[in-house]
Symmetry: C2
Subunit: 201 residues, 2 copies
């Protein structure tokens, strides 16, 4: 009986170990193809090839494409918990942390988000829920940090804009990502969040 795709959320193998199990390599390959190429490009054949297994071998670990998606969603559930915690404990505060991590960094976390965003575009309801849920978490922390809900939502929109630009316009030709210095942006938003406190609420 194949391991039930969505069963072991947090059983990461000893970090630094021999490069991960076949199961993990498959999930990595799927995520990479989703994020670096497209949902269409992430076929079972392509995933298997990149993971260094056969299609049959892949399907032993993940009985269907849906199970494969469940796999990345499960891993994301752990990553978002880590991120929220780090955001809360960040030295320069949640706003600073949030904005800086909204910039593309090739981290596992960013790759997972872009991969899931691609699944969401492919109309996968679970992927949409996962993103909506993550968004609520971030927003909650931002709101605690800046006080005003509108300012918090505005900061989130800026972060989303960064991700949109990453996911949509990779490679070259991205004005916003390439010409915006993150330190300048953070400084601007900080003044904005402090000084721009609206009248109401």
């Amino acid at each position: 009986m194949p391991p039930a795709a969505a069963s072991t959320p947090a059983s990461s193998p000893a970090p630094g170990a021999a490069q991960g199990s076949a199961r993990d390599r498959v999930l990595d390959a799927y995520e990479e193809l989703l994020a670096e190429q497209s949902e269409r490009a992430a076929t079972l054949d392509a995933v298997a090839a990149r993971a260094g297994v056969s299609k049959g071998g892949l399907l032993y670990h993940f009985a269907s494409k849906e199970a494969l998606a469940s796999g990345v969603l499960d891993r994301f559930a752990d990553l978002i918990e880590d991120d929220i915690r780090r955001m809360r404990e960040a030295e320069d505060g949640p706003v600073d942390y949030f904005l800086r991590t909204s910039i593309p960094t090739d981290s596992r976390f960013e790759r997972a988000i872009v991969a899931i965003a691609r699944l969401a575009q492919a109309a996968d309801p679970r992927a949409r829920d996962a993103l909506a849920s993550a968004q609520r978490r971030w927003l909650e922390v931002l709101q605690e940090a800046v006080g005003d809900p509108l300012v918090a939502r505005t900061i989130m929109l800026i972060g989303d804009g960064m991700y949109y630009n990453t996911a949509l316009l990779p490679a070259a030709n991205n004005v916003l990502r390439d010409e915006t210095d993150i330190d300048d942006l953070v400084a601007l938003i900080r003044r904005f969040a402090e000084g721009g406190r609206p009248s109401g609420r």
Copy 2:
């Protein structure tokens, strides 16, 4: 000889006329399926069915799927010109216009952008170029309006964030879109753009 998909950019039929040619209906159907569903859902079969023609009929007007994409990109080229002009002439200024039109409105323009965003996610280089180009146009106008480049880019990021949320999290469960009042947002950003002028440049 079939009409070469990308030949007549601006030959829109008399507005209000008998509901458009088959060619236009096909393009509308393709755009709708892309924007409302997904790139995968926009198959030739589905497009033909929604446009009320057979697959063969569709392929007479657009010899390939690539030609179909060219069709929506050509129409977008006209729409973006209109939008930039309207943005420049907007009564309450470009910033106000830009932010308000970044909110989903079910207009033809918005539908085209989301459709092209979906094509861009499917790794269509022309769709990516079209979005990058449109972005440069908007940014240029914003920069003229607000002066500071960083503030202009920040406003663009907010608009992009809105689109990201529209394209990614349609239907319910979108905190940002559903709970953000556009008037409040515009007022906030206006104060931000005026008061928040940074030191440098």
